[in-house]
Amino acid sequence: MSTESKEILVGESSQAKPEKKTIVLMASDGDEFVVDVDDITNQSEMIRNLISDMGGTDGLQVPLLNVTAPVLAKLLELFNVSNKNDDDEEVTQKVKELMEAELNMMIDVLGAANYIEATSFFDLSCKVLADKFKGMSVEEVREFLNIECDFTEEELQQIHAENAWAFD
């Protein structure tokens, strides 16, 4: 388990103005990520509420028990893209690229975004994934997401009987 602190300033370079406030996010394996307060609260409702509950950001460390260091690093990287761009085009593109390259990582990033209540990023990423499987057949969805069909033959027949009764 690494204990060194990683400097990741979301949205700004590390030569940020000295008065920039930061907090520390701790991944499940103990790795620490220093993030700019404005940039993270811009994305995460959970952290925004936490800071307001704690009455400030001084020395705040937020343990994210569900999020591993690689996933957190990827999520912060995508937040960075999101914070730098006014429209969602660029970040949508990055999420798409991640989905095509590392699907499991993308799904973990989605889970982490949901966990820290990064609502707009989560919505956007879900849309990317939803659009992807929209035109797929059942078999293609199973293959794409590596899901095993756990229906019995009888159950499958019953489901087929509930045909989409009316539409072409």
Binding site: G111, D123, L129, F133, V138, R142, L145, D150, W165, F167
Partner: protein, 382 residues
Amino acid sequence: MEPRPKQIEAAAAAADTALHGDVLDAIVSRVSPLDLLPASRVSKAWRTAVLSSPRRPPPWFILHHLGRRQVAAAFDPLSRAWRSLPCAPSYPSHRQGPQTQQVSSYMLSPGGGTRLCVLSVSALALATDPFGASWRELKPPRYSRTDPVVAVVGTRVVVAGGASDLEDGENAVEMFDGGASGAWVSCEPMPEAFRWSESISSAVVGRRLYVLEKQSPFTLSWFDVDSRRWGPARGVRVPDPTVRHAAIGFANGRLLLGGAGGIGTGFGWRAESVRVWAVDEESLQVEEEVGSMPRAMVEELVGDGGWGLSSLGFLSEGRFAYVYNPSYPKDFFLCELEEGGGCRWESVPRPACMEERPTHRVVVGCCQVGVEDLMMGKDRIV
């Protein structure tokens, strides 16, 4: 946030490698119900997510053609496509025959949206699903009526106005209590101001049925299903004095009034604007403007065939409203009411069926459609 033992973390991390729980639900909620039909066969977890999704998708717009061969077309905003419904709505079959049937739509609350209804001298049949595949039949109301307002509020069915066979019965209101008596009861008649109304627009808000006279002086009133009485009737002072046609709806938690304004007089009148206002449910007066339709869309709405705009079609549900021209039902516009106020407008592509059968009478509907509505096994049809 307390630290958890290592083994629980490990278990959580292992589970996180698959698509499940909240994330799966969130993805499912972003896809059209039609696209979910295959998803419901992927696995048990997916099936559960598809069938239990608590989402509020945009409502579909449904065109029911009333021809010899009844067909319907439905617009699904999530996939932005019209789908044709080759199997006709199965009207209660033993009622078909020489007797006159009036096919229209009724409003449903809670749940929202509209469904088909068929009124004849022998029955009032109410569709229980968006496409008219299954029906519930009631005895007919006492007065025979032409184009009454029909609404289902909880377990009660309200039928108002349109009565013709008795001199003082035109405004008669009857209510059927499906939960208790199982019979029609007479209620306080509609306010006198509606006696000569040519057409009425209606909306259900909570326990109240609101009705609006669609033309000046835009009389608005409401009927309470619990007390069976009417509230005050008032003319709505529409902020745009050029508004000639109006209609009401309920969306985004507010009572809305859509109004078409224009220039000219008599037959020379031409619509130039469509605006949407929020109306206070108690004072029955306009509170604020919610949105204004882009000018180019108003042009399309009025139509190039010289039909003009002789009334305003306005159907709403959830956070959405459809605007259309009832005498030229080819162009439809979807208005999304945004959370912080304001609207986003989009044109709905033209349905092919209206190009093929432009003169057929249609009944329009607007309601949310779930996967369960599309999975209609025979056992669902009653």
